[in-house]
């Protein structure tokens, strides 16, 4: 029993363990961010690292995102591998220039002569009434821009493996972790935020989606909390004799077309669920990929569920209404199957 316990980790522990192992191996890896030191990251992403590596390698910064995330560029050019934390993805607007015009483009503009091995770790997601400026995922805002690998792992195993891969990668990686999947003591604690995580080092590829439940009638694609909701929905649908295949997207950019096309070829029906805004989000990109490159697999209109192009409201009754859940997914799946 004991041994199994040790291996069950929360998302935040899995993530910080990956960072710890990378920092042990490579002294060029360091962390910068607001409250990543003594506090261990507001969402636990750097728990315990300050004690292990000291303030030189786990640096608390002023509230100067353009300053310290921009500084990652110069440090990376000097051979370091900075992990910078943008506390909430909602704050990207104060630093987006450094991220998308510099970190993302310098390798290209330099003809491949300058590497940017930078991990931008950022917390995403709502569902706890943090309102319009602290609850977004903004997957699409990052997926749209060239030069960034953008990942959104769901379960602890992948949080560890993809963080390890992100740190090893010589290119910039935007690593989005979902607050509710960190398994924090002060938030809603859901089973999915705890899972088996091998102690030894391993890599989970940054560009692959995963079929986490096989099915034959319809393909449901989600990321992070929408993957969790999709799994609940699949269980419900099963009871009604509907066999749903569930894909955990994992990579926002690039989208793993092969895995998706293969599934749709089997199910001929597709429902995409996103905790991001509807317009120009991944429900759009995936629908476009399928309808342009796998059109003939489709036998019914593609379903899209996402936040209906409104800011995220504060009041729980309102927020619940705009964030898709398993009920919406079940209903939409049936609608597609009956169309």
């Amino acid at each position: 029993m004991e041994t199994i316990k040790v291996q069950k980790l929360t998302g935040s522990k899995a993530m910080s363990l990956a960072i710890e192992q990378a920092m042990n191996k490579d002294d060029k890896v360091f962390v910068m961010g607001e409250d990543v030191g003594k506090y261990g990251g507001i969402f636990g992403s750097t728990t315990g690292l300050m004690d292990k590596f000291g303030p030189e390698r786990v640096m608390d910064t002023p509230i100067s995102e353009t300053g310290f995330i921009g500084a990652a560029v110069g440090a990376a050019a000097e051979g370091f591998r900075p992990i910078v934390e943008l506390m909430f993805v909602d704050f990207h607007g104060v630093v987006m220039d450094q991220i998308y015009n510099h970190i993302a483009k310098i390798t290209y503009m330099s003809g491949g002569n300058v590497k940017m091995p930078i991990v931008i770790a950022t917390a995403v997601g709502g569902g706890y009434s943090d309102a319009a400026q602290h609850s977004q995922t903004l997957y699409g805002s990052f997926g749209h821009l060239p030069g960034l690998k953008v990942v959104a792992p769901t379960f602890p195993h992948d949080l560890k493996g993809m963080m390890a891969a992100a740190i090893q990668d010589d290119n910039p990686v935007v690593f989005m972790f979902h607050k509710t999947l960190q398994g924090l003591g002060w938030m809603d604690q859901i089973p999915s935020s705890l899972g088996p995580v091998p102690e030894e080092e391993y890599i989970v590829p940054l560009n692959k989606a995963k079929v986490i439940k096989e099915g034959t009638d319809i393909t449901i694609i989600g990321a992070q909390m929408m993957t969790v909701e999709a799994m609940h929905a699949a269980t419900e649908l099963e009871k009604e004799g509907i066999s749903a295949e569930v894909i955990d997207l994992l990579s926002i950019k690039p989208i793993d077309k092969e895995t998706i096309f293969k599934s749709v070829e089997k199910t001929h029906r597709l429902l995409i669920v996103d905790e991001d805004y509807l317009s120009y989000g991944y429900t759009a990109e995936i629908a476009a990929l399928v309808s342009s490159e796998a059109f003939y697999h489709l036998e019914a209109p593609i379903g899209r569920l996402a936040i209906p192009d409104v800011p995220i409201p504060y009041s729980p009754v309102l927020e619940k209404y705009v964030i898709p859940d398993s009920k919406n997914i079940v209903a939409k799946a049936k609608e597609i199957l009956n169309s």
Partner: protein, 329 residues
């Protein structure tokens, strides 16, 4: 020390006391539904909750010099600023409870309170309210009114780019703009000396050729005098000012903050210097008010706050579909 009229002292006391009592009730209300296991998303008041107990002088000391037409913007920790500016307490409380009757029909929440009636707004992005206040100051100048605009920020926000851009604009255009930096010595877990390269931000006035003021030790009286000068100068068209006040954060950054980064003696030692008692005692010392008078005042304040909570608690929640309204007017 220069004198302050009884009216002004009592006004400051009332606003500070009201803010304090409002937040003490909020501490309790916030924990409803969050026990025995704390869950930030649970209860009638979910989400982050940033309380300002201890920081009341920063707000009352300057708002006593403001009128309805003056603009105030505040950050994520806005209750004391809102109350001092005269935001409707019932509608504000209802908003924090996520009710249909709230300032924002339950869409904004505690970090996003908008009361156009008294030109108050706040937001959850550090320093982002500064340009808004600069814009209001620009409007006042365009309208040739003597209105001023005050932006409240924390000391941590003084290192954000928006701080610099706002002050350069305000100074360049000689706008009636004042930034009040509430230095509670913490930016969440980061102490000021690990975030700011100068001990006090009043020196940053030199970068803009404007006036910088420093108020030590959370002093409500000094805050009053310094603010009066800054506000008067702004009204007279003499341009912007920076006011930094050393203030106290009695509580954690937000409710539920384990505060492992902070020495356990700090908060109690700050509470021992309660600024509200300082004003009350001063009124007594100067023989400006009697115990009875002040007790009566406290009763009134309690009544008003309790009424606001009652209104909020008894107000209806919005209908789910209302989430789709108000994106555009």
């Amino acid at each position: 020390m220069k004198d302050i009229s009884k009216d002004h002292l009592v006004w400051m006391y009332s606003k500070m006391k009201m803010s304090r009592y409002f937040e003490e009730r909020m501490e309790t209300a916030y924990m409803e539904g969050k026990q025995p296991v704390f869950n930030i998303g649970a209860g009638p008041v979910p989400g982050e909750m940033h309380l300002s107990n201890g920081q009341e002088p920063a707000a009352a000391g300057i708002c006593v010099h403001l009128k309805k037409e003056d603009t105030v913007t505040a950050p994520h920790r806005p209750h004391h600023n809102a109350i001092a500016k005269g935001v409707d307490l019932k509608l504000m409380t209802a908003e924090i409870y996520g009710k249909k009757t709230g300032l924002g029909k339950g869409k904004g929440g505690h970090m996003h309170l908008f009361d156009p009636e008294v030109k108050f707004s706040c937001g959850g992005i550090v320093a982002a309210g500064m340009p808004h206040a600069v814009g209001a100051a620009l409007a006042a100048k365009k309208l040739k009114e003597d209105w001023v605009a005050v932006a409240f920020i924390g000391e941590g926000a003084a290192n954000a780019g928006a701080f610099h851009e706002s002050l350069n604009l305000a100074a360049l255009w000689k706008l009636p703009f004042i930034v009040v930096i509430e230095d509670n010595s913490w930016g969440i877990s980061v102490p000021k000396n690990e975030s700011t390269c100068v001990p006090f931000n009043d020196v940053r006035a030199a970068a803009y050729g404007i006036k910088g003021y420093l108020v030590k030790d959370n002093d409500p009286f000094e805050m009053y005098h310094v603010s009066k000068e800054a506000v008067d100068r702004a009204r007279k068209g003499e341009g912007p000012s920076i006011i930094e006040i050393e203030t106290y954060r009695f509580l954690g950054h937000f409710q539920g903050d384990p505060e492992l980064y902070r020495n356990k003696e700090e908060a109690p030692s700050l509470r021992a210097k309660d600024p509200i008692d300082r004003v009350k005692n001063y009124l007594f010392e100067k023989g400006m008010a009697s115990e009875a008078e002040m007790d009566a005042l406290d009763v009134e304040i309690t009544k008003e706050v309790d009424a606001a909570y009652e209104f909020a608690i008894n107000s209806p929640l919005p209908e789910p579909e209302e989430a789709l309204e108000d994106v555009f007017v």
